[in-house]
Amino acid sequence: MAEKSKVIEKEAIVIRFSGDSGDGMQLTGTQFSDTSALFGNDVSTFPDYPAEIRAPQGTVGGVSGFQVHIGSTDVTTPGDFCDVLVAMNPAALKANIRWVKPGGTIIVNIDSFNEKNLAKAGYTSNPLPDYQKGDFNIIEAPITTLTQEAMKEITNDNKTVLRTRNMFALGMTYFMFHRPLDYTLSFFEKKFSKQPDVAKANKLVLEAGYHYAETIEAIANKRVVVAPAKLEPGTYRNINGNTATAWGLIAAAEKAQLPLFLGSYPITPATEILMELAARKDLGVKTFQAEDEIAGICTAIGAAYAGSLAATSTSGPGLSLKSEAMGLAVMTELPLVVINVQRGGPSTGLPTKTEQSDLLQALFGRNGECPMVVIAASTPSNCFTYSYMAAKIALEHMTPVILLTDGFLANGTEPWKIPTMESLPEITPRYAPKDAQYQPYARNSEWLYRYWALPGTPGHEHRVGGLEKMDVTGTVSYVPENHQVMCNYRDEKVARVQKVIPLQTVEGDQSGDLLVVGWGGTYGHLSHAVKNLRKAGNKVGHCHFNYINPLPANVEEIFSKFKKIVVCELNFGQLANYLRMKHQKFEYLQYNKLMGLPFTANELEEHLKNLI
């Protein structure tokens, strides 16, 4: 290591890797963030990639990006703008230049800046001289050539060179930010244990990138180090929202001493939940990759009837397909967790981009009066907490629960202080008492749940189904008064969940000029914006909902302490409208965005500032 080079200490930096969707930018970004997390930084990541696996090479539409924010203090967002952009080709530069901070550094693979690629990206001439003249520090690195050079002893196969050059860029950034190489080196050894040549080629290229950076004056003189963050003591791991969601379910099943069953159909960006659970045969998880979304939920309903903790995972269009079956779960009053990883809609929409536009679908998108508990996770790691809580509520209240996450949470990662199973709350499934006579629709008087009688239990044989049932006995009933009674029960049962969910909290000022209201995946950005507004002396609170149906009991109390309320959402105002319905006496301002992107803390700050 060139210790003689100058090192600047910074509180946080943001780096964005970008290239063709086949360039391995997701892997590169993940390596950088994992290495940083292991180094002790707080980390937040944002993968931003197209739906096409290999979109037309070299085009702006095919650019895949991965942004990493590392810090020595609390990092709540992946950062609005980056300090360093790595652009593997002109298209990546074109797509991402807007995200580079003024004065930021751009590393380009100059080998790819030929006429053909410039044209594909829509540049009429080489833009680098102009950017150089502007406020950017451009580093033109011949990444392809140097990658070829580094691995020439092993192979000169062009494909291998193309596949490995991302590691050259990674090596350069490791030098720039004083990162150790060992995590990535051991990753190569594991991943390519059966192809030692490939492992070696990757190692040589990574090191070559590292040493090349050392020779670039513009880098060597400005090496940046971000000290480890002062996180709470404990054992940590990096986790993304989808893994955390899957793990929350496994943990809940173990706590409730139930087998876990997931019925699901692959759909971006929820598929990883199915993949993660499919890999957990060691913990006895049964996954059923169904023929369609409907079968995904229907197999789960069957499994719930048979006595499993049952779940189904999907994204927007899939939730639409599951609507009728969710009604069946409401009618049969079975425990079921429905996970919806929201993406840009409507229809196929923006499969790989984030949005919060399924809230009203989750709340109301079914025929009949069909109440379900609706919960939303708000950070990648608390997807664990809320999927655990979704399962707990489903099992303890005999109701289907929808857990909303989104593409931003699903793919984003952050360090997570690992809980122990012992620290998680107990889960008590509502089994029918073994010896008593069983009435399928007899209810617990306090919570109104019916009891769960599992097939295989002698004497508890009973029928459930989608037709309206007689109170207590559960026979088919068309009695008008009975339908009223049963509708009331289903509604009130869900409403009573309010008594077990925590009271809503407010971050920042507890009363004041402006209450910023949000829900779900926008937590980090809103929190960051509110902190900055408060630093500037404003009296602002941040009220972020995780429990949406039912809402916590103290909403009115909180809302009445602020002069203005603004609801910020990545939709046209779905929570705002829901709040208008539930708490009519307040006026709700809105800030909305529908670009398939998270808010930037910056835009929020700009907008909110004007409301005070």
């Binding site: 404990g234 054992t235 045969k281 023929e291 079968a295 197999t299 690992i418 044989e461 009973h462």
Partner: protein
């Protein structure tokens, strides 16, 4: 599922009033079914009957086992979930031609493909009854119904062909009027490990009366149906003088003692033959060129989905490093801050 208990058919009847129309073929299937359930002797608490939507799908309410009346077309998916979650249950699915083959066609073929141990009885009346008389995917071409006042212009599915096309391992056919045969077939379906499909031809007395009369009428039934039993000659007819032979790669009806054909020429039914060629030909036979095949046409052993799932879990667990959630939480890359 090992314990065998002595039951009578009445033990499997629920206290619910059966609300099918008088004269509906479904009554006969229900009677045959409770008889088979009693004969099979699986403890009642281990039996689950799942259905979709339609007249036949009211079935779960009329038996005293566990029951799940699902939503239209999705019975196979619900039943698949139940069986996969608890392979020790004996799971029946009651469905109709609309429920299984129209709205539920996808789930139906995929359940068959997976070979989940479900016993699926398709009540085929070639009409939508509960919605009062629209054509179904099995209605004969030209059928005049409320939604085809000038006759249908779409060819029907042949259930056996669909089952075999979906790599089905068990296919049988019965007809409402032959209660003993139905009962015998249901028992075989239950004992078969894998997806067993039984097509039950039932008469809709209100909207499609007489759809199966060509076979069911006692006067000529024996000449128009053949009851296939594994290992037995394919002989039929009032006088047991007709049989099936294979000529030019096709089935042919011959009269024993005529044109030089003897009993020795008649085919012997092998339901366990893996190659579905003959089974397909048998399943597709129809009047007037052929007798309609009843009985178990195909029953070929194969591993079942739910057992393979259990086996895979057991195999992975036997050498797993991660044995509980705490192991998983702390696996891989972690770091400690003091």
């Amino acid at each position: 599922m090992e314990t065998k208990i002595k039951y009578t058919p009445a033990d499997f009847k629920s206290d619910q009033e059966v609300r099918w129309c008088p004269g509906c073929g479904d009554h006969a299937i229900l009677n045959a079914m409770v008889k088979s359930m009693a004969n099979i002797g699986i403890p009642k608490e281990n039996v689950v009957v799942v259905s979709g939507i339609g007249c036949s799908s009211r079935f779960p309410y009329y038996v005293s086992t566990y029951g799940f009346h699902g939503i239209h077309g999705r019975a196979s998916a619900i039943a698949s979930g139940i069986k996969t979650a608890n392979p020790n249950l004996c799971v029946w699915q009651i469905t109709g031609d609309g429920d299984a083959l129209a709205i539920g066609g996808n789930h139906f073929i995929h359940a068959i493909r997976r070979n989940i141990d479900l016993n699926i009885i398709v009540f085929n009346n070639e009409i939508y009854g509960l919605t009062k008389g629209q054509y179904s995917p099995t209605s004969k071409i030209g059928s005049i119904t409320k939604t085809s006042p000038f006759g249908t212009v779409e060819p029907p599915f042949r259930i056996g062909e669909l089952v075999i096309g979906a790599q089905g391992h068990f296919f049988a056919r019965t007809i409402d009027v032959m209660v003993n045969l139905s009962s015998e077939i249901f028992e075989q379906a239950a004992q078969f490990q894998g997806t067993s499909i039984v097509e039950a031809l039932v008469n809709c007395v209100i909207f499609n009366d007489g759809a199966h009369d060509v076979y069911s009428d006692k006067e000529y039934r024996d000449d128009r149906v053949i009851i296939l039993r594994h290992g037995e000659k394919m002989v039929f007819g009032k006088n047991h003088d007709k049989g099936l032979v294979l000529e030019d790669l096709k089935l042919k009806v011959v009269t024993i003692g005529k044109d030089g054909y003897t009993l020795d020429d008649i085919l012997v039914h092998n339901a366990q033959e893996e190659n579905p060629g003959i089974h397909l030909m048998l399943a597709n036979m129809s009047y007037p060129d052929f007798p309609l095949a009843l009985g178990v046409i195909r029953a070929v052993k194969a591993p079942t989905y739910e057992r393979l799932v259990e086996q895979q879990i057991a195999d992975v667990k036997s050498s797993a490093k991660i044995r509980c959630m705490n192991d998983l939480l702390t696996s891989g890359n972690t770091w400690t801050i003091k």
